[in-house]
Subunit: 374 residues, 2 copies
DNA sequence: TTCCCGCACGTCAACGATGTCAGTCGGAGT
DNA sequence: ACTCCGACTGACATCGTTGACGTGCGGGAA
């Protein structure tokens, strides 16, 4: 046996007593230092009114015995400012956000909220009884002091307004831009759909297919609105069969594209599923025997400026979701620090470009006019 | 302007009052229901001693007004059981764990700890003053009731024992297997190094290079131990120049491999950097003008059983880290639920195989004997 | 009828930290 | 010498919740 000492039993005891030790309190520290609890509290919170010697003594004792204040007790006397909660609409592995974006988002949240010792509390509970109320349950429970609703799924207006009314800092990402006083950071999906459709209409297309996200995914509504606006302006009738809901699954995406493109009168496609899978669209087209750029025109939406995902044959809509998120998170951090109180409104405009004609992806971030007012 | 109603001011007020509303308390609910706070508490906690009518009434009021108990106040009366904290040694984007593994880990943690309404509190604070103490700061602060130390960086023994002594459920992942009474879930890195070196020695090699992880990365120590053991058994002298620390950066990996292989007497290499980058090793070898499988022998370590990463020319060590993590997390969940109290010891054995001779990657998970005792 | 038991409640103190306020103690000003 | 002031410190109440314990009431047994 190569590793003696690694062995330990795996037993089950039927009578399990609660062994968790109570932990040090401020009174313990006070007793050790020979002062009152309040004086220790003053040192912990960096308040004035303690002599230099006592302050040094108490600080030394605190670090020696490893005293940490009890967060719960603290949160009863003052609003909690050292943690943010992040709510998702679905477990990470099913998130419509790409994994790359998700990890970037995590890192950004940590960077902004942990540098002064803060905590991030993730809430991906897919088992909640009432998803919508539960979006902010950590806020109602005073578990964290600010809240990021990272999901683009619908949050109903009552919940949104309840969060707003609670006075806690919060930010809804990817949604809620239509409610005037609700904090959000997102991109303008309606505009993206409008630009896509208009681009294709201007090229002479009349029957334009669109892959919109599945039911219940709020930005899908906005997409449809932009699409319809472009059609209306050009006086082209709407055929509801051309707008298909898709999941974020690559195979599903390919198969829906396939079926759409079997209809030869469909000469253009807007791929706005939210996934980065331009490849899936290409696969679907291949199966239908059609060649993008020759047979039909495509507009692909992308959330990154990564040239690797570019499809030379297609026009692209760049949705600066990362830029919007970054900006929104900065403002949320200000709010937590009480450097602002108004709801956050960050809405970035999408940009249309074509890899074969535009040499560079437009770098300057197109901001919504709210932000230009600064 | 396409979107009226989206505009909102971006102002700074110099006198910011704290607007955060106090929130509903159990007393508010009690008043509404015409009962005492204790009775409401009984309903909230599903305790006996409340008549059916009152229980129904109170439950209705709770859901109507959206009352949630204050977590902090609660945690002062009973140990917190509805949340786990996860500590990392570094920000996610710098993690030695692959992004794929990381997201899988997140999902697994949520699956196990959120299904009954739990929360996950991540702690990636890279700004902590005393990293080692801070590994469990959320535990000392009673912020969460159980703790996962997800980092393979060294946790010093004092901290480990302090966590153990506190009686809180915890799990150290990827490390600490050498301390007898400390909970951990990991793979046997020493054995992996031993198997790798022995395989190469048996093939007749005498000068075997090893890429070990950077300084401070604890499993690196264990790797070296296994390597040395194999050398000793074969009575081959140790040349310290053959064991190079690397970071988890693909370019760095390639360049170190390059330099190692410029020495023609080096005829074998163990690539155990922990990254999935067999490609980097191949690139380094190419630059040195050497061909793996012909010029020299390689053993590549991998954490997945994904055939896509396999290099036909190399022998592989499969480290079932995911399996170990999954098992450890299950046991931690049991501990939180008080179905066990002993420290967790999950140590999986690595497996050596060669894609060109072994038809299948050995599927049955090789467990350490501790687990076989069950 | 009396006693006792158990259910359905309520009362109260305590958890750990901090805000409020009331002291104490030098030293400077008159 | 006497006041006054400011720096330092502690006593106490309080936050929201729950454990321990007390009370009143109805019903069955003696």
């Amino acid at each position: 046996m190569p590793h003696p000492g690694k062995v330990s039993g795996y037993t089950m005891s039927s009578d399990i007593s609660d062994l968790r030790k109570p932990g040090l309190t401020i009174h313990d520290v006070a007793k050790m230092a020979g002062v009152s609890a309040k004086t220790v509290s003053r040192v912990v919170n960096d308040e004035a009114g303690v002599s230099h010697e006592k302050r040094a003594l108490i600080a030394r004792i605190i670090s020696e015995v490893g005293y940490y204040p009890h967060t719960g007790a603290r949160s009863m006397r003052k609003p909690c400012r050292d943690s943010v909660g992040v709510t998702f609409p679905a477990p990470v592995e099913q998130s419509p956000l790409s994994q790359q974006f998700l990890l970037w988002l995590f890192a950004e949240i940590y960077r902004l909220f942990c540098k002064d010792g803060g905590f991030v509390c993730f809430d991906l509970n897919p088992f909640a009884k009432n998803r919508d109320e539960d979006y902010a349950r950590g806020l109602w429970q005073q578990r964290y002091g600010a809240c990021i609703v990272a999901g683009p799924l619908a949050v109903n207006d009552t919940t949104a307004h309840r969060i707003q009314a609670s006075g806690h800092p919060y930010l809804a990402m990817g949604r809620l831009d239509s409610l005037p006083d609700i904090s959000c950071a997102t991109v303008d999906y309606e505009e993206a759909a409008y630009l896509s459709a208009k681009y294709l209409i201007d090229k002479g297309h009349k029957r334009i297919a669109m892959l919109r996200a599945f039911e219940g995914y709020q930005p899908g509504v906005e997409r449809l609105r932009g699409y319809l606006r472009a059609l209306e302006e050009a006086e082209i009738p709407f055929d509801e069969n051309l707008v298909r809901p898709v999941t974020f699954d690559a195979l599903h995406l390919a198969s829906v594209t396939h079926r759409l493109l079997l209809d030869p009168t469909v000469t253009a496609l807007i791929e706005c599923s939210g996934s980065e899978d331009a490849a899936s669209v290409r696969e679907g087209a291949r199966r239908a025997g059609r060649v993008p750029g020759q047979d039909f025109d495509v507009v692909v939406w992308t959330y990154t400026d990564n040239a690797a995902v570019l499809n030379e044959a297609a026009a692209h809509i760049w949705l600066p979701a990362r830029e919007a998120a970054a900006e929104g998170l900065e403002l949320l951090a200000d709010w937590v620090q009480e450097r602002r109180t108004d709801p956050i409104k960050v809405i970035y405009r999408p940009t249309l470009y074509h890899p074969s004609t535009d040499r560079e992806i437009p770098k300057p971030k197109p901001l919504f006019d709210v932000l230009l007012n600064r």
